[in-house]
C-alpha cells in the first residue's frame, strides 16, 4: 500500500459531505471513488475519507473527500473536519422532505465552521425513488438559487448524476481559485474575502519529495 507510485496531480481539494443521517452520503462517496454501492451500509461513525483524481480544464485535480456522520450526537466531533474544506456537498434525500427542511441548519453549520468562500452544492440524492418523491425538483432548485448554491439530483444506487456532481463542484472550485490567483497576480487589491488565495492550492507537479 505504501509502496505504490504517487500519482501526479496539480491541485488537491478537500470536499466534505454533509447532510442528515441516512441520506446516502457514504454511498455517494463509495460510488464516486470506488464505483460501489451498499444497500445495507452502516451509519458512519466520526469521519471517513477517500480520494479520487479527476481531469478538469486540462488539470489533474485530486479530490480528498471527507464523509462525516449525519447524526446530531457526533457533531461536536466532526466540526473540526470543516477546516481547510473548499467544497461541500450538502445532501438530502428526495424521498424524505424532513431531510430537505434540515438543509438550512446544515448551511448554518457551514457558516459557523467552514471558510466563508466554500463552494456548496445542494444534492438531492436517491433520485431512483421517484415514486415516493417527497421533494419536488423545482422546490429544491429555487431554494438553491435563492441561497446561491449549485444544485443536482443524484442516485448513488443507479449512479445517475454522481460523477457529474463531483466533476462540477471540483471544476467550480478550480475556476474560482484560478480567478482569485489571476486577480492576485494582476495586483487587484482586496481579493475575494482576503484570505483565500492559498486556499486549496495543491502541490504542483505531484507530491514533492521530502
Amino acid at each position: 500500500m505504501s509502496t505504490r507510485v504517487e500519482e501526479e496531480y496539480d491541485y488537491l481539494f478537500k470536499v466534505v459531505l454533509i447532510g442528515d443521517s441516512g441520506v446516502g452520503k457514504s454511498n455517494l462517496l463509495s460510488r464516486f471513488t470506488r464505483n460501489e454501492f451498499n444497500l445495507e451500509s452502516k451509519s458512519t461513525i466520526g469521519v471517513e475519507f477517500a480520494t479520487k483524481s479527476i481531469q478538469a480544464e486540462g488539470k489533474t485535480i485530486k479530490a480528498q473527500i471527507w464523509d462525516t456522520a449525519g447524526q446530531e450526537r457526533y457533531r461536536a466531533i466532526t466540526s473540526a473536519y470543516y477546516r481547510g474544506a473548499v467544497g461541500a456537498l450538502l445532501v438530502y434525500d428526495i424521498s424524505k422532505h424532513g431531510t430537505f427542511e434540515n438543509v438550512e441548519r446544515w448551511l448554518k453549520e457551514l457558516r459557523d465552521h467552514a471558510e466563508a468562500n466554500i463552494v456548496v452544492m445542494l444534492v438531492g440524492n436517491k433520485s431512483d425513488l421517484k415514486n415516493i418523491r417527497g421533494v419536488e425538483t423545482d422546490e429544491a432548485m429555487s431554494f438553491a438559487e435563492q441561497h446561491n448554491l449549485a444544485f443536482i439530483e443524484t442516485s448513488a444506487l443507479d449512479s445517475t448524476g454522481v460523477d457529474t456532481a463531483f466533476q462540477r463542484i471540483l471544476t467550480e472550485i478550480y475556476r474560482l481559485m484560478s480567478r482569485r490567483n489571476m486577480a492576485a497576480e494582476e495586483g487587484v487589491g482586496g481579493v475575494g474575502k482576503g484570505q483565500s488565495i492559498e486556499l486549496g492550492e495543491g502541490k504542483k507537479g505531484g507530491k514533492k519529495c521530502c
Binding site: 466520526g46 475519507f49 450526537r73
Partner: protein, 286 residues
C-alpha cells in the same frame, strides 16, 4: 466428566484422542463445573477463567453473571431473572411498543424483514430480548459518559490513548503527528463502537470476554487494548508516507477482520501489561 477433563492433558494415543473429541473439551468442562454449583458462583474464579475467553456454549450464561444481571447466588437467580424479565415487558407495554427488537434494528436489515418468531419459539425470543436489554443496560452503565452530550468519556479515552502510544511507541506517535493524523480521526470509532466495527462478531465476543472479566474493562482496559492494536501495526503505519494512504489504512485497511481468537488473546495480554504500567499513574501520560 470432570475427571476426564483433568486427565486429558496426560493421555496419549489415537484412541484416547478420539474419546476426548467426543467429550466436552477441558475448558468447557471447567466452566460447566464453576457454573453448576449449587451455592454461589465464585466471581473471582469466573473472572479469571473467562479472562482468556469463554467457550461459546457458556458465553450467554457467563456474560449474564459477569454483568451482574444474573445473580451469582443460585438460590436467588430464578426469582431475580423472572422479575427483571417481567419488568422489561411491563415497561414495553407502558411505552406502547410492540414486541420483538424494538427499534433496535435499522430498517432494511435482513432480520427485520424476516419473521424471527417462525424460527424461534416466542417464549425463548422474549427471554433473549429482555436479557439483552438488561445486559446492555448494565454494560452501558460502566461507560455512561461515552454517550452523553459531547461524549466526554470518549474524548478522555482518546486523550489517554495518545499518551500511552507516545510513551510506548514514540516513533509511531511522531509519525502520526508529522503526517497530520489525529487520534480522534480513527480512534473515535474504536471507542464509540468498542471495536465492534474492527473485528468479526465472533472475535468481538472473544474480546469482550476479557473486557467483562477485567476491572473497568470497557472504561479503562479498552484504551490499552486500542493502544496494543495500534502499535501492533506500527511498522506498516510508519512506512506509509501519504496522508490519504495512512488515513485509509487506519480507517479500513488494518487486517483486523482476519484476526482470530488467538490474535485477540495476544492483544489482550499486551493491553494488560500496558495497563499495569500506566493505570493509576496518569502523570506519566501527560
Amino acid at each position: 466428566m470432570q475427571q476426564m477433563a483433568n486427565n486429558s492433558n496426560s493421555v496419549k494415543g489415537g484412541a484416547a484422542k478420539a474419546a476426548a473429541s467426543l467429550a466436552p473439551n477441558p475448558l468447557s468442562a471447567k466452566f460447566s463445573k464453576l457454573l453448576s454449583t449449587n451455592s454461589t458462583i465464585s466471581l473471582p474464579n469466573l473472572r479469571s477463567l473467562s479472562w482468556s475467553g469463554v467457550p461459546r456454549e457458556h458465553r450467554g450464561e457467563v456474560w449474564r453473571v459477569l454483568l451482574g444481571y444474573s445473580p451469582a447466588n443460585r438460590g436467588r437467580r430464578e426469582n431475580v431473572l423472572e422479575r427483571k424479565r417481567g419488568e422489561y415487558w411491563k415497561s414495553i407495554e407502558q411505552v406502547g411498543l410492540s414486541p420483538y427488537m424494538h427499534g433496535s434494528l435499522p430498517s432494511g436489515t435482513s432480520i427485520s424483514s424476516l419473521d424471527v418468531s417462525s424460527l424461534v419459539p416466542p417464549s425463548v425470543l422474549s427471554t433473549i430480548e429482555s436479557d439483552t436489554y438488561w445486559c446492555l443496560t448494565s454494560l452501558l452503565s460502566t461507560i455512561q459518559d461515552h454517550y452523553t452530550p459531547n461524549q466526554p468519556g470518549l474524548q478522555r479515552q482518546i486523550h489517554t490513548l495518545g499518551g500511552v502510544v507516545r510513551r510506548t511507541d514514540g516513533r509511531l506517535h511522531r509519525h502520526l503527528e508529522d503526517m497530520g493524523v489525529q487520534y480522534i480521526q480513527f480512534a473515535f470509532k474504536w471507542c464509540n463502537c468498542l471495536l465492534v466495527r474492527e473485528f468479526q462478531p465472533r472475535t468481538v465476543a472473544r474480546l469482550w470476554d476479557t473486557y467483562l472479566s477485567e476491572e473497568g474493562g470497557f472504561s479503562t482496559f479498552h484504551v490499552y487494548a486500542c493502544a496494543s492494536l495500534l502499535t501492533n501495526f506500527s511498522s506498516s503505519l510508519c512506512s506509509t508516507y501519504d496522508f490519504g494512504d495512512l488515513f485509509t489504512l487506519l480507517q479500513q485497511g488494518l487486517p483486523t477482520k482476519e484476526w482470530d481468537d488467538d490474535d485477540v488473546s495476544v492483544m489482550c495480554s499486551q493491553a494488560f501489561v500496558l495497563k499495569s504500567l500506566f493505570e493509576g499513574s496518569e502523570a506519566h501520560l501527560e
